[in-house]
Amino acid sequence: MLRRAPRPLRPRLAARLCQPQPQPPRRTSSTSTTPGTSTSPTATHRPHPPSPPAHGHLPGAPRSALTTELHFFNSVLEGQQIPTYRVVDGNGDVVQGAEVPDVGREFARRLYETMMMLPSLDTVLYSAQRHGSISFYMTTHGEEASVVGSAAALEPTDEVLGQYRELGVLLWRGYPLSSIMAQVFSSTDDSATKGRQMPVHFGSPPHHFHTISSPLATQIPQAAGVAYALKRDPARRGSVAVCYFGEGAASEGDFHAGLGMASVLGGPCIFFCRNNGFAISTPAAEQYAGDGIAARGPGYGVYTIRVDGNDAWAVYNAVKEARRLTLENQKPVLVEAMTYRVGHHSTSDDSYAYRAKQEVEDWKRVDNPLFRLRKYLEARGWWSAEEESALRLSQRKEIMAAFQHAEARPKPPLGEMLRDVWGGEEPWMLREQREELRGLLGKYGAVWEPWRRELARFEGGGRDVMHPGAEGVGVGVEEDPDEPQ
C-alpha cells in the first residue's frame, strides 16, 4: 500500500497551527503522526514541533485526525453499513435483547386498528379510482408500520410535512374519514384543498399536518424552516418538525439543501425517510450507490438511525428517541425506515411492468407489518380472530358510509377556482378574468354540453360566478373607478 509521510509544515506556521485545538480529538489514528518517524530526508533538518500534530488545521475540518495512511474511506465497500434496528421479528416475536416500548394494551390496539384502517381505505379508494369515481389515488400498502408507528411516537402538535404516502399520520391524529373522502372526491366539503389539488394531497392546520404538494422533496428545506420557527417560539417549546420523504425524493437537491440548512441552523426536526425500495419503477439500486439514505446523515453531522420499517415497535422506539434527541440538542435527527412498497406507485402505475408479481406476493406474506403486529398482540392476549373480523367489518362500514356521503356531494362553488391566489386585495386580472368567465358561462353554459354537464356537478351550478352576489358566495365584480373605459 502506498504510504507517504505528510509534507512537513514550514516551522513558524507549524508551531502556530500545531497548538492544541480547543476541542479534543474524539479518536486518534493508530498510525504514528510524528514527523520524526518519517523517512523524508528534509524532515531531519527541520525542528520538530513541540507536540505531534494530532489534528488537521484548516477551518474546513478542524477536528480531523492526521494520518499517514493514504486511505479512501467508503463505508459501503468496507462493509460498514449502518445496521437496522429491530424489536419484533417477522412472526411478531420480540427479538432477544430488544426492548419493547412500555405502552399499554389500549395504545397497542389503537396502533393496530389505525394501521388496519389504511389497507381498508386503500382497497376502497383504489377500486373507486379504477371505477372512475375519483381521478387518482396512492396506497400505503406495506408501509403501515412506518407511517403509523412513527406517528404514534409523536405528539399531536408536532408539525408534520409529508410527501404523499403519510395518510396514516392523519388517521392516527383523528383526521375524520369524511375529510379524507371530501379531499379525494374534491367535494364542496374539502376544506384541505377546496377541490384544487389532486387526491391524497391532504392537509389540516388543526392536525398540524402541512398540506401535501406534488413536487418531491420541497418539504425538506421547508421543514428546516419550521424547526427553526419552533426553536424560536417560546409558545411552541417542546414541539418538533417531522419531515417525511421517500428514498427517491432524497435524490433531489432539496434533500441536500434541507439537511444542510437544518444541521447548521438547528431546531428540533426529525427527517423520516420511507425507504421502500422503489421510486415508481426505479429500484433503490438505481437511486444511489451508497449505504441508503441513513449513511448520508452523519455526513451532515446529523444523528442517524436505520430501522426496520415493517416493525411498528422498532419505528415507534426510534422516533420516540429521535424526538427526545432532537429536542434535547435542538439539532435534526435522521430516521431511515426500511420497508417495501407492496402496492403500485399510484393508480397511474402498473408495477408489474418492472417487478415480478410473485416478488410482491412474497413480500406480503414473508414480511407483513400488519401481520407482525397482530401476532404480537395475539401473543399477549390483546387481540383475537373475532376482533379481527369485527374490526374489518366495522372499518369497512365506516369507510363506505363516508364514501357514499362524499360521492353524493357536489363540487365546491365554481368561484373557488379564482380565489386564494393572492391574499389581500384581489388583483385586477383575476377580477377581470372572473368577469370574462361570467360572460362565457352566460353565452355557452346552457348550450355547450361539456360545460352544461360539468356545471351541474358544482355547488350552485356555477351561479356564484354567473350571478355574483346572488349566492352570497361570489365576489362582486366591481368596475374600477380609475379604469378608463
Binding site: 408539525e159 410535512l161 374539502d190 376544506s191 384541505a192 384543498t193 377546496k194 384544487r196 389539488q197 394531497h201 392537509g203 389540516s204 392546520p205 402541512h210 398540506t211 404538494s213 413536487p215 420541497t218 425538506i220 428545506p221 421547508q222 421543514a223 428546516a224 424552516g225 419550521v226 424547526a227 427553526y228 420557527a229 419552533l230 424560536r232 417560539d233 418538525a241 437537491g253 432539496d254 441536500h256 439543501a257 434541507g258 444542510g260 440548512m261 447548521v264 441552523l265 380565489r419 386564494d420 391566489v421 393572492w422 391574499g423 389581500g424 386585495e425 388583483p427 385586477w428 386580472m429 374600477d480 380609475d482 379604469e483 378608463p484
Partner: protein, 438 residues
Amino acid sequence: MPAHPPRTLFIPRPRPRLLPASSPLAPFTPRPPRPSSPPTPSRPLAHDAAEPPPPGGHLPSVATSRLLRTSRDAALRAPAITWNDEPDALRDEPGTHTARQTRKMNTYQAVRDAMAIALLKDDSALVFGEDVAFGGVFRCTMNLAEEFGRDRVFNTPLTEQGIAGFGIGLAAMGHTAIAEIQFSDYIYPAFDQLVNEAAKLRYRTGGAYNVGALTVRAPTMSVGHGGLYHSQSPEGFFLGAAGIKIVIPRSPLQAKGLLLASIRDPNPVIFLEPKILYRSAIEQVPTADFELPLGKAEVLLPGDALTLLSYGTPLYHCEAALSLLRTPPPALDALVPPSLRSAKIELIDLRTIMPWDLPTVLRSVAKTRRLVIVHEAGRSGGVGAEIASEVMNRLFLQLEAPVRRVTGWDTPVPLAFEKFYIPDAVRILDSVLETLQY
C-alpha cells in the same frame, strides 16, 4: 362596441384619428411609417464624446437625477406615502412636516434601514441568506446581526433552494422571513420553491396555510461589468407565478417604503433591488417607519404626448433620454427634429411588476396615445410583452402608434458589450422619436 364589417387580413383600414385639433399632439403632422433603419447621421453618434463612464459603470445621470428627492420636504411629501410611526407626538398636521426627520441615504442604507425597522417592530422577523451576517456583499445588512442577534440575522449554507424553502417553512409558521438571494441571477435554483411552493401555497391549501410573511430580496439588473451572471433581470420569469408579487424600486426612498410594504404584504414578494443604485442613488429618506403602496405605479413626470414606462435602473436612462430630447447635444442636433423637442412625455415608474398597475398605465396611454416600454431584461417573454398586449387590447382604437419596447436583446447579458445591450438613453430617445413620428 359597434360591430365591424367583416374584413380580410390584408385590406388596410384607415387608422381613426381620434385626436382633437386642440390636442398638444396636433403640431405633429402624421407621417407614414418610417423604414426600420434610421437615417445615416451626418455626424457620428456622440454619446461617447461625452465624458466616459467610470470604470464601475455607474449611471452618470443618477448623481444629478431630478427623480431623486434631495430635500427633506420633498422626501416627506413623496406621493402615497403612509406613516406607521404611531405616537401622537410625531403625527403631523395635514400639509406640514414639522416632526418627521429625514436622512441622506443611498439605496443600500435605505434597504438596511427598512430591515432594521422590520426587525425592531416584529419579534418574529428574521433576515438570512448567504453572507448577510457580516453585513452582506452589498452592505445591505450592515450591523444588523450585532444589533438584533445572530439568531435573527444569520448566514445560511450556500443553497438558494434551501434559503427559499427555509423561508417558506418559517413563513408557514407565521414568522416574518426576509431572505436574501445574493444576485437575482442565482434565484433560479430556488425557482421551484418560489413558483411551485411559495406562489401556490395559499391556493392549494384552500387558504388554510399561506407564506405571506416571506420576502425574497435580490440585487438585480446590470452593473457595468456583471457579465452573464451578475446582471440579470429575471422578473419576467415570475410573471406567470400567480400568487407572488414582484417589486422593483428605483431609489432609496422607494426601496425603503416598498420593502417595508413587501415585508408586511400578505403575499410572498420577490423584491429586486437594482444593484447599480446601491451606492449611486442618494436621496433624503424619512427615518420613520413608512410604506409605499404595492400594485401602484407612480407618474414621475406628467405629459400628454407619449407615455414612457419603465422600472428600476432604466428610469434614469429614460430621464436622460428626455433631457436629450428637450435639449439635444450638438452631436444629436440633426437627429432630433425641433418640432418634437417640446413634446411632453409622461414618465411612469411601474414599481410593482406583478400585479402591475393597469389603471394608471391605461389612464396615461388613453391620454397620450403612445407608449414606449423600457426594461433591461430581454424582449421575448418580458414584462413589456405583457403590458403591450394588455394596452393594445384595451386602447386599440386610441393608439396613434404601435407600442414600442426598448429592452435588452434576446441574448445573455454580455460583459464587454454591455453598453450596446442595455436600453440606454439614446436607444430610448430613438424609440420615443420614432413613436412620436409614426
